[in-house]
């Protein structure tokens, strides 16, 4: 994971990407107990967003460094890494307001707990619901914080359904 942090910071320095933030299960683990996951997910803002292959610059940079594609991902150290362009106001905000964490002495941009929860809520698979519950249980985020952020991004109904299903007695 440290190798991924170093690579992302270098990509940003070199102008291949404008910004990035780790999200998904690997980011969740900052707040909760460890969870099983097979890959790392990274939100990116690319410098050349007008290119037809938006991620082309990233793939070229990684290939020049010897990192090879593996399915939809690029294998960086132990982690197949999926680069996902920040595709919505929610993911853009999550990336912009990400925190800079320390990973074994390397700065690593990571999506905040409240954004992780609301992104999971917006995706809505069973494992995403588990992520929201894990973040709540860890105390990393409150119901009020999720409600407020969800409402701001048009997800108030999804949050109320989640509350009814999993939180209300």
């Amino acid at each position: 994971m440290k190798e991924l942090a170093l690579l992302l910071n270098e990509m940003q320095r070199e102008g291949v990407i404008q910004d990035y933030a780790l999200f998904g299960a690997t980011a969740q683990m900052r707040y909760t107990e460890p969870v099983a996951t097979l890959d790392a997910d990274v939100l990116v803002a690319v410098a050349s967003a007008d290119r037809l292959d938006v991620l082309g610059g990233i793939y070229e940079f990684c290939a020049a460094k010897g990192y090879r594609p593996e399915g939809e991902a690029i294998l960086v150290g132990a982690w197949p890494t999926q680069f996902i362009p920040a595709f919505s106001p929610l993911t853009q905000e999550a990336m912009e307001q990400a925190e800079t964490a320390d990973f074994d002495g390397v700065a690593f941009r990571v999506v905040r707990a409240d954004h992780l929860a609301v992104i999971a809520l917006s995706v809505g698979r069973a494992k995403d619901m588990t992520r929201v519950l894990g973040l709540l249980e860890s105390g990393a985020v409150s119901r009020d914080a999720i409600m407020s952020l969800a409402a701001r991004h048009g997800l108030a109904d999804a949050w109320h359904r989640f509350e009814e299903r999993f939180l209300d007695d």
Binding site: M1, A25, T26, M29, E33, P34, A36, T37, A78, F103
Partner: protein, 54 residues
């Protein structure tokens, strides 16, 4: 407290211990889980012999 309640309490304490690990430590734990899962996928499954033919 019943045996089951004590067991659940111990499990909750163990989970809390894992939660208090540093982020890099948790990631390294997840990496070990990934390696184990990968190994299970690579290793051939043991074959179960069928019933003897008559």
């Amino acid at each position: 407290m019943t045996d089951l309640e004590q067991m659940l309490k111990r499990q909750a304490e163990w989970q809390r211990t894992r939660q208090s690990l540093t982020w890099p430590e948790k990631i390294r734990l997840a990496e070990r889980v990934r390696e184990s899962v990968g190994q299970l996928r690579v290793e051939p499954r043991p074959t179960v012999p069928g019933p003897p033919k008559r």
